[in-house]
């Protein structure tokens, strides 16, 4: 039997895992309650269910809250309704391709700073160059180990935190 897909075209957007108790109020600075508690919201976009399941399993734990979409259009809808802290994006999908999703994210002021990690079976250098030129934070070719994926996502968060804390560039790089 074909396994059921969690995100359907007409289904309501998946809800991120509930925030820890007492966090349901936005902080004055506009940070999301989840972010205040260090839970990173990750949107996984891949047409392959097994890859979505793998990434979800790799990110399982207290540090991440994961939701997913199986196509680019649904992913952009989810980004608008529940902005994630990072997007893990497949590069080759039916319909809207990864490059289209990335360009759309970069074109909108509200979403242009969301880091995008591309995870794909495409391993050609030209795909990597295209993704980086379009604004991908990282490009990983499958097979990617869960550890490598976690390291990439975590290092991207660390870099962003360092940048946000206004440390001199050379200090951030050294870390």
């Amino acid at each position: 039997m074909v396994p059921s897909v969690k995100t359907q075209v007409n289904a309501p957007p998946p809800i991120f895992a509930p925030a820890p108790p007492g966090t349901a109020i936005l902080s004055p600075g506009g940070f999301s309650p989840l972010e205040r508690y260090g839970v990173k919201r990750v949107l996984v976009v891949d047409d392959e269910e097994s890859i979505r399941m793998l990434i979800e399993a790799a990110l399982e734990g207290p540090d991440f809250s994961v939701c997913h979409a199986d196509n680019g259009r649904d992913a952009l809808g989810l980004v608008r309704t529940a902005p994630p802290d990072v997007v893990v994006l497949d590069w080759v999908m039916p319909g809207m391709q990864g490059t289209d999703v990335l360009r759309e994210l970069r074109a909108q002021p509200a979403t242009r700073d969301i880091p995008v990690v591309v995870v794909t079976a495409m391993c050609q250098e030209r795909n990597r160059e295209e993704a980086v030129a379009a604004g991908a934070a990282a490009y990983l070719s499958n097979p990617v180990s869960p550890r490598e994926l976690l390291r990439t996502i975590n290092s991207d968060f660390q870099e962003r935190e360092l940048r946000a804390s206004d440390l001199p560039a050379h200090t951030a790089a050294a870390k």
Binding site: S50, M53, V92, G95
Partner: protein, 266 residues
């Protein structure tokens, strides 16, 4: 969908708006692109297989979760194996390296036997067989024909994820035996029809429903049908289902053996 067993004529001949699409010479990807697409297809199950194995080795899971993850590893391993098998079969047939065992045979008992195997394996669908006791003889490699019919039956099941009827029907015509496999599944979009039998093609509706496939099954069917000197075509309506037809030419009339020459050395 009209009952295919009741009327094996293509939909176009029955006055339907949906024209039939016969296996065409639509271009397959070139050799380099084929290999690139194959690697792409192999990398996905390989990534799952290795990724879930890493997780199982590195993390602690409950016995139930462990079993679930091992199930995914097994499924992805099978997927990888099926992909390689289909690709190699396709290569062998198209390059002319496949060995055949052509035999004159009545396809009716073969069809019924393969249908019984399929019925035992299936679940979630109702399955019916309308194959007469006997059909006129055809000349086929029965193993290749089994592969062809099994692929069509397995597709019928796979591409009707909400269940429904699957039907296998056959009948004799003037110069051929016509076999059809019908489902009530997601169907095929008209614009995708010309590409349906090309290597690595996957319909968007199928992908969106999360139906797995390599895009090699129908390309393999096309290669087999060509080698059997038959025809393959499909009628389909999106959301209503598909009917795949296989026409096999009848075997030439058997020559009656001429009387033995008189033994002059008696």
């Amino acid at each position: 969908m009209a009952d295919p067993a009741a009327d094996l004529r293509p939909r176009a001949e029955r006055g339907s708006a949906q024209a039939r699409v016969v296996v065409s010479e639509a271009a397959d990807p070139g050799r380099d692109e084929s290999i690139s697409l194959l690697f792409h297809e192999l990398r996905t199950p390989l990534a799952s297989l290795l990724g879930f194995t890493d997780l199982l080795l590195e993390r602690e899971y409950s016995p139930e979760k462990r079993r679930e993850l091992l199930g995914i590893v097994r499924d992805e391993g099978r997927r990888l194996s099926g992909l390689i098998e289909n690709f190699l079969d396709l290569q062998r047939i198209e390059s002319g390296r496949q060995e055949y065992n052509f035999e004159r045979c009545d396809p009716a008992p073969l069809l019924r036997a393969w249908a019984a195997d399929f019925e035992r394996a299936g679940e979630g669908h109702t399955f019916s067989v309308d194959v007469p006791e006997r059909l006129p003889p055809v000349v086929v490699d029965s193993e290749r024909l089994r592969r062809l019919i099994s692929n069509l039956l397995s597709n019928a099941q796979k591409y009707s994820p909400d269940g429904g009827r699957i039907r296998l029907a056959a009948r004799a015509e003037e110069k051929r035996v016509l076999v059809c496999v019908a489902d009530e599944g997601i169907g095929i979009a008209p614009e995708e029809m010309p590409l349906l039998f090309t290597r690595f093609f996957r319909g968007e509706r199928a992908v969106r429903r999360g139906i797995r496939g390599s895009g090699l099954g129908l390309a393999l069917c096309r290669a087999i049908v060509r080698r059997l000197r038959g025809e393959l075509w499909v009628d389909s309506e999106p959301g209503r289902g598909s009917v795949f037809y296989v026409a096999l030419p009848l075997a030439p009339a058997e020559e009656t053996p001429s009387p033995a020459p008189p033994n002059v050395f008696r």
